[in-house]
Symmetry: C3
Subunit: 155 residues, 3 copies
Amino acid sequence: MAKLTQLIDNEVFRAYATYATIVLLKMMLMSLVTVYFRITRKAFVNPEDTASFGKGESAKKYLRTDPDVERVRRGHLNDLENIVPFLGIGLLYALSGPELYTALLHFRIFAGARIAHSFAYLIPLPQPGRGLSWAAGYAVTISMAYKVLKTVLYL
Amino acid sequence: MAKLTQLIDNEVFRAYATYATIVLLKMMLMSLVTVYFRITRKAFVNPEDTASFGKGESAKKYLRTDPDVERVRRGHLNDLENIVPFLGIGLLYALSGPELYTALLHFRIFAGARIAHSFAYLIPLPQPGRGLSWAAGYAVTISMAYKVLKTVLYL
Amino acid sequence: MAKLTQLIDNEVFRAYATYATIVLLKMMLMSLVTVYFRITRKAFVNPEDTASFGKGESAKKYLRTDPDVERVRRGHLNDLENIVPFLGIGLLYALSGPELYTALLHFRIFAGARIAHSFAYLIPLPQPGRGLSWAAGYAVTISMAYKVLKTVLYL
């Protein structure tokens, strides 16, 4: 067990673990927001989900798309597309021996950018609010990928 | 190599590796189910996929959506949305030094819940079958995230 | 820090880090291709994204789907569905002590297959080009999962 404890004692790794968990929890929150909008907007996609509204035509009218539900779903998918690279590249980056200060800067910008992205998407804020928050998270991930490849490259 | 062998010798880490691989294989199975339904229902989305059915109008009619195909695809996306957090948070949880018994409980409930979710989605079972299996996996992931943050928090 | 440096000094782990980063960067490229097609095809999904084209009806006509945009988005989702299992299973595989030669073979085939898959999807190439590249990446991931389960199985 000594080994594992030592890994988790490393400050850069602890910072990665903290921010990775935060952005994953934020992404998971999108599921709850989707459920909230599906219920309040009465917009479902699976017939079995509308069974409690009655049978036949009375329930069928709730099988529809709603702009708010679709908006949350797009935000959720965008999270997946951007947080998956952060998880993988960020882990390798944390193991590549960066300076603590630099690593924290990367992790904080990424987490802040993704939280800002969700607000920009859900409120919604006028562009380029969402675009810039997306680009900030993207750029930080590229920067970490560069450090990883520079350190470990083995083709 | 000693290091790596020791990591993989840790029982909690081995349990994580086992259950993470199982849920990923289960998720990968959704791809095969999608292919199966696309072929049996003759419902494709890319024109190049219907080329073997002939040219022009005779092939074009197979470019359509099918309820069964869409159902599998929703189940697949739901897997991605829930298994990605499990992979990341579960790895950090396994490294945060939990009791073996507690860790196994978390991993087993998650894997069982996701397998139940797939059956509930594909059969489909009446609600709240799918909802409860989703919630069980979600709750277990939140519980692991709480343990990770309590152990490593470094903002 | 000694620990982490030693992990990253392991040749198999370095190979995993290199190829995982490459396929994640490739997946991230799909976001840029989507943005490129959305702008050149003038096909957007969020009303706030078309605000710069003017107000009311003149902007509304750009809220539409475009076959090229949808094609890239399908390729991107397929990447997620396949690269997420590679990231998780590949990491555990790298820690399970495979031969360097065998590990490199797995990683190289996967990365090559996913790059080929993107070209096959975006050009698009006639089938079974895309199907075979998808299947190659899938098979390699299954092969690594088998090795992981054989080494660590702990239910």
